[in-house]
Point group: C2
Chain length 497, copies 2
């Protein structure tokens, strides 16, 4: 279903690399003069520490009644980080904090590795009827991204920073969301969960817990914190008829083109990688605004483009693939989906909310070195230090590649530093839009754009000539030297189309 | 430029047939014991009648200073009808009424034929800068059709009921519009000009006279009768840029596809034959409403159709032609034109004004015989008693064919009797929409639909089977017997596409 699964690289890509490798050999090792991790888990350490299985279950499956987590199969680096956090108090728990403090660093690592290695069959969450939209689509009117966008398809987890939610007791998920919300759990990367949990109502928390966790809880009787806003563009229910079928296909393609439009794709990006909130979100080129803005003349190809032709461009450049022929069901479905989202929006190329945020020029010229620092601090967590993105535990694409062979090519709109800076400022880090300074957004946009990516499909045989013909009016880095390397000169050239 | 010119047929098609033929032989004949028409024109009849040339000019070119008409080249039947009207007082003129009364019927016919045969080089009006929109596009907010729609392209005249305007003194046009308006000129078919002239302001009259006539008059200082309404859909100026260029191409194609999209056309209809007022008019499926209604699922072809695909259907069925491929400049231009008209209109398949008027079922079932009578009385004037339409004096299409080989085929939407009845009620007779009773509209719709036309392009080889497969849910007459003839059985089958 998904090409190029990268499960094996997921672990190696993050900060957990060293730990992973160490632990892999330490999993069944015995601490000098002490019991093994398996012995501690099953019988305790024979001194003060009770057996882990007493609370977390014989198979590490957790305990729903006591709201205690599943440990089996969770990434070792994640579990080690939790034991350390429990020990140092950034994750406060009356039972676990004293226990974690009583463990040596080595014992924590051994236990983390032991439980990571326990196999527990867990089905990813798939029952969409149990979600009211939050888990799968988020609620961007409150800047709440979908849970699955960071925790992966079906809650199967992404890397070691975004643990699986599927298979956790629902009671435990509720308890943790409360802990993020009230500050008794802290220390999460970029404070992502603390920020997002504060935006959740009590009923939101129950819905999310029930979507990913087991067994289901009674629905919360608490009213939502905020009254539901009137439906915005694209928030109307999709009609349950022949047209609705095609609209739904469009939404599926939009969310997962690598699965539903595979033959036209050259990478694993999603349409919603650039057009957040399933193409609805103001500040990330919402599709309802695009729909009412075409046909339009585009200097990019010196002609009037219909909406369908504009969509073709996304496949050719952003998806580094091939253009679906006009009239292809993929284009018709995407056009139908955009049309449906645009319902009620006046036809107007100047409609408010169109395109990406236009960020003013920064105080200082964008700088590669500063951008690298911003990237390491705020972007690498999700997109990887090599810019190659990450996959979920079930192999489906999670965070998009920002450069390299799996990213958008040199012809995509996102290679414009201005475009990228506006997108980043408005939307990144994911769920924390608006938190970077303008200068940081410009710097990191320049940094991202200063890496090789697949060749521009319009490549003429010469980078300089291609730059002159196709990039003279954009501010991409294509054809410019960065640290002695001419960008575009080492790109993978796509095969003949 | 235009195929199948039918100038030769224009005269024969109308009520003027007998007169035409008679006059052709009588043109240079001498009345028994009297002077010839040429002698009367040049020298008078030697008794009371002065020479025609004294007022109408040596070449029958008219007299601008005295507001007297050009006669040269005007259809004989038209001129004879005017002499008769002047004689019987339905066209009152202090000079011409006594003169016409003094002529024998035979002399009137001779003079009409003589002046019809005089050749006078007249350029059709082409200087669009002299029109403020009324002459070329009309003003449908007041139900004023464009002058050229009845008087032909450039004012070159259509048949013998719609005389040329090009080459008339502007002063004469002004005088006649005043005469229609104040009732001193009457007797026009269906009272068309009396009705329309009453809707014209003083400044309208000057603009129209200056567009078609010579020499130009000073612009009227009279204010318009009505303040200009706010611009409706599609009334905004087309932008003067690269997109505007394509929008204008779309408008040109829309108005004259036989000229600008010839390769996809199988007849000489215009898009505006069904979509009045250049595709703007409520009650005749305005394009701005169509634009915001697609993509949509259509039972006609069992799939979701984009707007471009819907346009393809017009070419295949209404134009009896071939579908332009998706992405063809013809479709892109038409889509751009519709988009531009839709500006400001909310995206909504239920937008008010969409489609044709939905006429309630009539008191009595639609009837062929009654329909034939309505047709003869109100439709044949323009569309011809044979339903074949009429061309302008310069050969360009004027009134569309309603059946026969030059009309829309059996697959077009207009073959639905319900659709046709709604269109007719709202818009016909042209410029007199709403004047037929519901019953008349239904009857004449049935009558029109009870004639052969080109075969349905989906024809399977059997009329019954084609009816079952493609017409089971419409109320067209295809496959039904009328006066012993099975409709569809004698249709021209289009060649392979």
């Amino acid at each position: 279903m998904f090409r190029r699964p990268r499960d094996a690289r997921a672990c190696a890509r993050l900060a957990g690399l060293t730990a992973c490798v160490l632990l892999a050999s330490a999993a069944h090792a015995r601490a000098p003069h002490g019991p093994s991790a398996a012995e501690i888990a099953e019988h305790g350490d024979g001194r003060n520490m009770p057996p882990c299985s007493a609370c977390h279950g014989a198979s590490g499956e957790g305990n729903s009644a006591a709201a205690l987590p599943r440990l089996a199969g969770l990434p070792a680096a994640y579990q080690l980080a939790q034991l350390n956090a429990l020990a140092d108090g950034t994750r406060a728990d009356p039972v676990m904090t004293p226990l974690a403090r009583g463990m040596s660093t080595q014992v924590r690592a051994q236990l983390a590795s032991y439980y990571a290695g326990l196999s527990l069959h867990v089905e990813p969450a798939t029952d969409t009827a149990r979600d009211d939209g939050l888990a799968l689509r988020g609620r961007w009117s409150q800047e709440i991204p979908a849970c699955v966008q960071c925790h992966g398809d079906g809650g199967s987890g992404v890397g070691s920073a975004f643990p699986p939610l599927a298979g956790q007791p629902a009671t435990y998920i509720v308890k943790q969301l409360h802990a993020w919300k009230d500050g008794t759990r802290r220390g999460d990367p970029l404070s992502l969960m603390q920020t997002i949990a504060k935006r959740l109502s009590e009923s939101d928390i129950v819905v999310v817990a029930n979507y990913f966790g087991m067994p289901p809880l009674a629905a919360s009787t608490a009213s939502k914190d905020l009254p539901a806003p009137p439906p915005g563009p694209g928030e109307r229910p999709i009609p349950d008829d022949d047209f609705g079928k095609v609209i739904r296909q469009g939404r599926e393609i939009f969310e997962n083109p690598a699965k539903y439009a595979d033959r036209y794709m050259g990478n694993d990006l999603r349409c919603s990688s650039c057009h957040l909130d399933e193409g609805r979100h103001v500040g990330s080129a919402p599709m309802w605004a695009a729909y009412v803005s075409y046909p339009a003349y585009r200097a990019k190809n010196h002609k009037v483009n219909t909406f369908a032709e504009r969509l073709q461009g996304c496949f050719l450049y952003s998806m580094n693939g091939t253009q679906p022929p006009l009239g292809d069901p993929v284009l018709v479905a995407l056009e139908s989906y955009a049309y449906w989202m645009a319902r009620g929006v006046p036809v107007d190329p100047g409609v408010a909310g169109r395109g990406y945020l236009r960020l003013p020029k920064p105080p200082a010229p964008p700088d590669f070195t500063r951008g690298r620092e911003v990237y390491a601090r705020t972007c690498a967590l999700c997109h990887g230090s090599d810019g190659a993105g990450q996959r979920a535990g079930n192999g489906s694409p999670a965070f998009p590649a920002l450069w390299g062979s799996d990213s958008y090519n040199w012809g995509a709109g996102m290679v414009g530093v201005t475009v990228a800076a506006g997108f980043i400022k408005a939307n990144m880090p994911f769920g924390l839009g608006g938190t970077l300074s303008d200068q940081e957004a410009w710097d990191v946009a320049l940094f991202v754009d200063s890496h090789e990516r697949p060749q521009d499909p319009r490549y003429t045989g010469s980078v300089a000539d291609t730059r002159m013909q196709f990039h003279d009016n954009d501010d991409s880095m294509y054809g410019k030297p960065v640290n002695g390397h001419l960008l575009g000169s080492d790109s993978v050239r796509p095969g003949p189309r």
